[in-house]
């Protein structure tokens, strides 16, 4: 059951305590500030209340005070900024080799696809201690993936992939909320994240129904859609081979170079003419409307499986929204 601590939810992820620590710092800071200001005001209100025979003393101001109470708060603010920024970087940088769970949000449910092939609706099973990266898109409007116990939240936007990551640290069942208003049953678009001990998780994996891993499902989709006609395994066909494509640079016909990340793969299937690989013609059919988001996730997972783990500098490609002009070296 979901636990509640008086002032914060369960600390069930590796960053939860860090967010709470910042919260406590801010609370204490605010309390001290309020106490100071309110005490001073109260003291003044009493000590200087209207009194027959005593006139107000006329004071213009004080440059020293003005500078002091501008610079000192600014200093404190910058400390808070830095702390928040560092935490944010950590929150937004998934570790390499995270397990990837594909998520499709739609009005009004969450659909998850595990790499091992399990599909879940409104419920997500994960093992304790494993880095999990959610690769998410929406089928319709903007939603937001929010797990208070993990202290993570990420808007899920239609038309592109976004990511969020966490490492669960405590077994239990935790709320999953949609946190971006999305229509009638926005408040009903809730579910749970079930964090299990590794052994329990293995049991769950083994006993839950699956039709093979996500990548295997993707391979099957790949065949069904006719992709091998042009995209051969060992050789270049009419289309480039997809072995080793994911995570590495691709040179386009107009000279630009892009990193082939999830968004690139997705765009290439939905809107192939947007980026033509150098040396190839613009003859790939458009698959928009023929592939739904879950099928897309499967195909993407399959194509990713054709690459060795991303090499050196390419690292974990950051997802670039489709339609943006690609850079030469993204960091």
């Amino acid at each position: 059951m979901v636990e509640t601590f008086p002032f914060w939810p369960a600390q069930a992820s590796s960053i939860a305590w860090q967010v709470d620590l910042l919260y406590v710092f801010l609370l204490v800071l605010s309390l001290v500030t309020c106490a100071a200001i309110f005490t001073v005001i109260t003291v003044f209100a009493i000590k200087y209340r209207r009194h027959h025979g005593r006139e107000a003393e006329h004071i213009e101001g004080s440059m020293i005070l003005e500078i002091g109470w501008s610079v000192l708060p600014l200093g404190v603010f910058l400390v808070i900024f830095a702390w928040g920024a560092i935490l944010y970087f950590h929150e937004r940088t998934p570790p390499r080799d995270s397990t990837e769970v594909y998520t499709v949000a739609k009005q009004w449910m969450w659909k998850f696809q595990h790499p091992e092939g399990q599909k879940e609706i409104n419920e997500l099973h994960v093992p304790v201690g494993r880095d999990v990266k959610m690769i998410m898109t929406s089928q319709d409007v903007i939603h937001s993936f929010y797990v208070p116990a993990f202290r993570i939240k990420q808007d899920v936007v239609p038309g592109r992939y976004v990511t969020a990551w966490f490492r669960a640290t405590k077994p239990g069942t935790y709320h999953l909320f949609c946190a971006e208003y999305c229509g009638t049953m926005h408040s009903g678009m809730i579910g749970q994240v079930v964090v299990m001990d590794p052994s329990d998780y293995q049991t769950w994996l083994a006993t839950s129904r699956t039709f093979g891993s996500l990548a295997a499902a993707g391979e099957s989709q790949f065949s069904q859609l006719g992709c091998p006609t042009c995209h051969k395994v060992e050789t270049q066909g009419r289309g480039p081979t997809l072995n080793g494509v994911y995570g590495n640079p691709v040179t386009l016909e107009d000279g630009r170079t892009v990193i082939a990340d999830e968004n690139y793969i997705r765009e290439s299937i939905m809107n192939p003419g947007a980026k033509i690989v150098s040396g190839f013609k613009n003859i790939m059919p458009i698959f928009q409307g023929q592939v739904n988001e879950e099928q897309m996730n499967e195909v993407v997972a399959y194509i990713k499986s054709l690459s060795a783990p991303p090499s050196g500098s390419a690292g974990n490609p950051t997802l670039v929204p489709p339609g943006t002009k690609p850079e030469h070296s993204k960091d």
């Binding site: 500030t33 309020c34 200001i37 003393e57 004080s62 600014l74 900024f81 208070p148 239609p158 926005h186």
Partner: protein, 544 residues
């Protein structure tokens, strides 16, 4: 100056002409201010009623009072009405319109007919919006996020968008009038550094109104076009970008919050020196802070988008700017506090509201620091924490400033005193009701309760019940002034020219003032907040 013998028999702006036409075709800024006062109070009560329904629904975890769609419309329209039809015009269109010409020593605003036009635009917009409300309403949230608003909502998005488009022009014209008035209509001797801080605040507010509102106008227009003509500017399914909408929307809507708070700060800057009997500490710093808030306020909009999918580097920029914009607000709080040092303080109703403002704005502002911290915001954005934050500023701050100002200038506006005991009681009720309503929401937010939720998990119920209880108290606090202010129009003590012994040219006119404010153009030879030379109220003789 005419001695204030008894009466309202002396010619003043209220009795100079009678009849509906003389009001509906007036160009007198004071009458227009009252027209606005009536209109925004009307809208306030509609918006407030929706708030009450929301809080009633949230008494229980289940959605059992209204349908989900209805609830979604309630919070959407509560937000739109309160922001666009109440808070944005509130102080500027009522107190600003009434006072600014007098404060600078002018007979009217620069463009009296445009002032009247701005009121008519407000009425037309209000009419369109009320019609929208009565024929189905809108459920996009006050923020109209796409593609929900352009491609998925089945409600009257176009009508609501057009209504807000029109009321935006009302706002722009008000701002335009104020800026030109302050630049061109100051009386001889009224230099910039002698202007009341109320005028400085409104000047800064007007800059924001002028520069920011048109961007909202074009954004809403594009949403309307998209919906009507099936375009794809903001809809990814048609090639567009939903984040572009968010950037354009927040480019106005963040500065808009400064439109809503700066005037209230201006009110506090008038009340505190008057009831401390000394000039504002650090006048030029308070004045410059208003300008700084207006400028920096345009540079922070994407702090509403930290989890929306913007890049890390954008997020860093907007976070640090958000901390910078907090500094001038803090400076103001410190200066108001220092004004009380060695003052002679009395606890009139306006002063109680000023105290309330300072306290609640401080809390609201501090929680803004929480939200600007990137790593923290990820957890609490789109939760009740944000709702609590902005209500502390908008209600605990702006509305208290508004009520304080209404009470402070009530004698000038109406020629009558309100009953002081009731005034203080209402102020206390508002303060208590407010805190009980909104403080629990900070906790709710951190615990994870998202906003815009019709139903919620049971563990959030206790705090919700507290909040609803508080809202009923708050409602009483708002109803009381309605009653006793109206009562005072007939039965209140007749007010003299300057019952508070306050500084400022407006207090040198009779209460209520004559139509053209001043018989002769004043010549200002003294500094602002000249309290050394203004006797305390009990000792006020009948000339200055």
């Amino acid at each position: 100056m005419a001695t204030a013998a008894v009466s309202t028999e002396r010619e003043n702006y209220l009795n100079s002409e009678y009849g509906v036409r003389s009001w509906l075709l007036t160009t007198d800024h004071k009458r227009i201010a009252l027209l606005y006062l009536l209109s925004i109070t009307f809208m306030f009560f509609i918006g407030g009623f929706f708030a009450l329904l929301i809080r009633l629904e949230l008494l229980t975890p289940a959605g059992d009072l209204v349908l989900a769609d209805t609830y979604n419309k309630l919070f959407s329209m509560h937000g739109q009405i309160m922001v666009f039809f109440f808070l944005v015009p509130s102080i500027p269109a009522t107190l600003g319109n009434f006072l600014i010409p007098m404060m600078v020593g002018a007979k009217d605003l620069a463009f009296p007919r445009i002032n009247l036009l701005s009121w008519y635009l407000y009425i037309i917009a209000g009419g369109i919006y009320v019609h929208c409300l009565l024929t189905g309403g809108v459920d996009t949230g006050w923020t109209f996020y796409t593609p929900f608003s352009t491609a998925f909502s089945n409600t009257k998005v176009v009508e609501a968008g057009l209504a807000i488009f029109v009321v935006g022009f009302s706002s722009i014209l008000t701002g335009l009038n104020f800026v030109v008035t302050v630049h061109r209509m100051r009386a001889p001797g009224m230099t910039w550094s002698r202007l009341p801080l109320f005028v400085w605040s409104h000047y800064a507010t007007s800059i924001i109104m002028l520069l920011g509102t048109p961007v909202l106008a074009i954004t809403l227009l594009l949403v309307v076009f998209e919906r009507v003509f099936n375009l794809g500017i903001f809809d990814p399914a048609r090639g567009g970008d939903p984040l572009l909408f968010q950037h354009l929307f927040w480019f106005y809507s963040h500065p808009a919050v400064y439109i809503m708070i700066l005037p209230a700060m201006g009110v506090v800057s008038e009340i505190v020196p008057c009831f401390s009997r000394k000039r504002v500490f650090g006048y030029s710093f308070v004045a410059m802070s208003s300008i700084a808030i207006a400028v920096f306020g345009f540079l922070v909009w994407a702090h509403h988008m930290f989890v929306a999918g913007i890049s890390l580097y954008s997020a860093l920029f907007f976070s640090i700017l958000s901390y910078l914009v907090a500094v001038p607000s803090a400076v103001k709080v410190f200066n108001w506090t220092a004004t009380m040092y060695k003052g002679s303080i009395s606890f009139s109703t306006p002063m109680l509201y000023a105290f309330g403002f300072i306290g609640l704005f401080t809390i609201g502002g501090l929680t803004g620091l929480f939200l600007a911290a990137l790593g923290f915001d990820v957890h609490v954005t789109d939760t009740y924490f944000v709702i609590a934050h902005f209500h502390y500023i908008m209600v605990g701050g702006a509305v208290m400033g508004y009520l304080g100002g209404i009470h402070f200038w009530w004698p000038k506006i109406s020629g009558r005193m309100y009953p002081e005991a009731w005034g203080r009681l209402a102020a206390a009720i508002v303060f208590i009701g407010f805190n009980l309503t909104f403080f629990p929401q900070f906790i709710l937010g951190y615990l994870g309760m998202p906003r815009r939720y019709w139903q919620y998990p049971p563990e959030f119920q206790v705090l919700n019940v507290f909040s609803t209880a508080g809202s009923t108290i708050l409602a009483v606090g708002y109803l009381l002034p309605m009653i006793y202010l109206l009562w005072s129009l007939r039965y209140g003590k007749i007010a003299g020219d300057n019952p508070w012994g306050a500084s400022g040219l407006e207090w040198m006119t009779p209460s209520p003032p004559p139509t053209f404010n001043f018989d002769e153009t004043p010549e200002v030879t003294w500094e602002a907040y000249d309290y050394e030379n203004i006797p305390m109220p009990e000792e006020v003789s009948l000339e200055r």
